[in-house]
């Protein structure tokens, strides 16, 4: 009898300890930074392969403008832009991976919408690519505008994206009946469209441009000029850790503002002696810009030196790879685009 009692008490003790651990963990709200520094790498969710945004080469090196956001965060909080663990996620998995704590930053060409921001425990920290949804068709079809779409057209796309919803709005508002064929993985969509299963392939225009490079014969396909939606793509963090949210937001902002002030990875060090106080703040030579995050003063300098400014990142990943040589709206506000970030001061 006493033997059993002993087992019972030890069981209770075990459960009590478990509860104690969880409540203690809940109490500290800004623990992501601490955990990241303890682990020594930033856990970053990316796409399963979208050239220009996040794509792994044969030896497993990730590149892309989304990848650069994670690298910037790693440079800021760990001092090394390479200390990132990338987790490729499907559109369907991405938010669950973030809310469940499997990753700490989601940089996966994700559209910022009200319901995503408000409903599902996420916070969007900014926009690193202004995009819009478009359509791709085979050149041989002779279609040059969405006005030529007819009843019965079949459209391939991804599930779990805003694309699926925009597509419906678009076809409904024009009174066109269509057949949606929705796959879980982008590669499957491309394969199905390429084989002739669908007449058109619809997703964000940057995605169309990037996926076109993966087709059997890219020259046989064109992206139609019309844009049917606004798709501001940006990095996302979990709700409930305001400090981490700020770190990711200002890592991205630093890259954009650095371009505005002409600071590049090669001239960043020499900018420390600039006459312009705003430039000096951006390279950690003036003010206490890192203290509020619990970081040192040169966190932004490291981002610019190791990852580069936004313009460098765009050129390296999107322009030079031939995906979208023209920056379009993703140009600085000073140069006719809409990239405008609050001042880092």
């Amino acid at each position: 009898m006493f033997k059993h009692l002993k087992q019972l008490t030890s069981l209770f003790a075990m459960i009590a300890v478990l509860f104690a651990f969880t409540t203690e963990a809940m109490a500290k709200k800004s623990k992501t930074l601490k955990n990241t520094q303890k682990k020594g790498f930033v856990r970053c969710g990316v796409s399963q392969g979208l050239p220009g945004f996040s794509n792994a080469d044969a030896s497993g090196n990730w590149t892309g403008i989304d990848v650069d956001v994670c690298r910037a965060v790693a440079a800021a909080v760990l001092g090394d832009a390479n200390k990132v663990k990338f987790t490729p996620l499907s559109a369907k998995e991405r938010f669950t991976a973030l809310t469940s704590g499997e990753i700490d930053v989601l940089a996966r060409n994700t559209t910022w919408t009200l319901s995503r921001d408000a409903d599902i425990g996420l916070t969007f920290v900014g926009v690193n690519f202004y995009d819009g949804q478009g359509f791709m068709v085979r050149k041989s079809s002779g279609i040059t505008s969405v006005d030529q779409f007819k009843n019965g057209i079949s459209a391939c796309t991804n599930i779990g994206t805003t694309t699926e919803l925009n597509m419906r709005d678009f076809f409904n508002s024009r009174g066109i009946s269509y057949e949606p064929v929705a796959f879980e993985k982008a590669d499957e969509v491309v394969a199905a469209y390429d084989a002739g299963r669908c007449d058109t392939y619809t997703t964000d225009k940057s995605g169309l441009a990037a996926q076109r490079t993966k087709m059997k014969n890219p020259d046989e396909h064109i992206v139609l000029p019309e844009t049917i939606s606004k798709e501001p793509l940006g990095p996302v963090v979990r709700q409930g850790d305001a400090v981490w949210e700020d770190i990711v937001r200002w890592s991205l902002n630093t890259m954009i503002e650095a371009e505005e002030y002409g600071i590049t990875s090669s001239n960043a060090d020499s900018m420390k002696t600039s006459d312009n106080p705003q430039i000096k703040r951006l390279v950690g030579a003036e003010g206490e810009m890192g203290a509020a995050f619990g970081l040192d003063n040169e966190w932004n300098l490291r981002i610019i030196k190791q990852v580069g400014n936004y313009g460098e990142s765009y050129k390296r990943n999107i322009a030079d790879t031939g995906i979208l040589p023209d920056r379009g709206p993703n140009q600085l506000w000073t140069k006719g685009g809409i990239l405008y970030v609050p001042p880092a001061r």
Binding site: M1, H4, Q7, L8, L11, I15, L18, F19, T22, T23, M26, K29, A91, K92, F95, T96, T99, S115, R116, D119, I120, G121, V137, R138, S140, S141, G142, I143, Q148, F149, K150, G152, I153, S154, I159, G160, T161, E164, L165, M167, R168, N172, Y178, E179, P180, V181, A182, F183, E184, E188, A191, A192, A195, G196, R197, D199, R238, Q239, G240
Partner: protein, 383 residues
């Protein structure tokens, strides 16, 4: 006293442990969801789904609610499972019997079929049928008609649809025929038990089921027209068939892969069932003067079914659960639509995954209950 405690305490501890584990996970999930501002609730089910589905059995439009999207997606899952179970049973019985054939060629091709299809992972087979086999099909504009009026293309299989007039009259005749057949079977059995006379039940049944519906055409005012699929040009090089019924290639690939794969297991169940009946049974039946057909129908099969049914039930359950692999090839089943798109659009991960799990559990239990009932019916009743 001591014994009583010894008996009760372990059970009490187990219950306590289960309650604590569940409680722990529930509280943990609640605290985490509170921290991240996620609400728990099923209110989203009445919201507008606002996405479309490629293939539905009932009318569905993006304006309908998530609940309706769930129902429609569930029907798609049930359709695939139903078709899969029918085909795998037919194929399985044929292959299973063929494996016992005396003919060298039949026996060995059946064995080869079983070994081949059951040893390749199902997902791979689905990919094969969808990405390799169906991709080799022609585009609509190049399609040659099959059986004169149907077209197999990369965009789907197009068949004529039926346009009925006075369909209800036809259906009433069909039901009347079926009811009559049931009565005749019962009557024939009584006659046989009383007088030992056998009525030609099969011929009477066949006659009834053809003559009664035929009569409805002749005097019931029933007419049947066919709407043929017609090629339509969408753009210079893009065509589609309009009219008739379109079976999407995703459905075809999925049913094909599921039935071919599961039929191998059903075939093995059938073979085991027949081989499980001792030779003596057959010889005894022959010695009392039964014909080979009667031996199979009256002696072998009733006993073999008892061995075949329980493991076959497992295969039906497997097939139903495996149908969730549909998500890989864009067939809008429960997992792709509800646990995929709906989950993404609402972010209600716990609720939706919970509902989906409960749904599969219910389908499986329903199939199991049905098969258990059938198993009970064919059991040997000890007198």
């Amino acid at each position: 006293m001591n014994n009583k405690i010894k008996r009760i305490l372990p059970q009490l501890l187990t219950i306590l442990f289960v309650v604590f584990v569940f409680g722990f996970f529930t509280i943990n999930a609640q605290v985490n969801m509170d921290n991240r501002g996620i609400d728990f609730g099923f209110g989203f089910l009445s919201q507008e789904a606002s996405f479309d589905m490629q293939f539905t059995l009932l009318d569905y439009d993006g304006q309908d609610s998530y609940l309706w999207a769930y129902v429609v997606a569930l029907l798609n899952t049930l359709l695939v499972s139903f078709l899969g179970i029918i085909f795998c049973t037919i194929l399985g019985v044929v292959i299973g019997v063929a494996r016992l054939s005396q003919n060298f060629l039949i026996k060995n091709s059946a064995a080869w079929y079983v070994e081949f299809f059951r040893n390749i992972p199902l997902l791979l087979q689905i990919f094969f049928w969808y990405y390799a086999a169906l991709r080799a099909l022609p585009l609509p504009e190049n399609a040659q008609p099959w059986f004169g009026v149907t077209y197999m293309t990369i965009k789907g299989y197009y068949i004529p649809s039926m346009i009925w007039e006075n369909l209800n009259v036809f259906m009433s005749c069909l039901i009347a025929a079926i009811v009559a057949i049931i009565f005749i079977r019962v009557y024939a059995r009584k006659i046989q038990e009383r007088e030992g006379k056998q009525l030609p039940v099969l011929y009477i049944s066949l006659a009834l089921i053809t003559i009664l519906p035929l009569l409805s055409f002749l005097i019931g005012g029933v007419t049947l027209d066919f709407e043929m699929p017609v090629l339509k040009q969408l753009a210079q090089t893009s065509f589609i068939f309009e009219g008739g019924i379109a079976l999407p290639p995703e459905l075809i690939a999925l049913v094909l892969a599921l039935s071919l794969y599961t039929s191998t297991f059903v075939a093995e169940c059938v073979r085991a069932g027949i081989q499980g009946i001792s030779k003596g049974q057959k010889e005894a039946a022959a010695s009392v003067g039964l014909t080979p057909n009667q031996i199979l129908k009256l002696v072998i099969m009733p006993q073999a079914l008892r061995i075949i049914i329980p493991p076959t039930t497992n295969q039906y359950l497997n097939l139903t659960k495996n149908s969730s692999l549909a998500a890989a090839i864009a067939y809008p089943d429960l997992v792709l639509v509800f646990a995929g798109t709906a989950l993404m659009q609402t972010g209600k991960a716990i609720e939706i995954v919970g509902i989906t799990m409960l749904t599969y559990l219910s389908i499986s239990l329903a199939i199991a209950a049905l098969m258990n009932w059938y198993n009970k019916r064919i059991e040997i009743k000890e007198k």
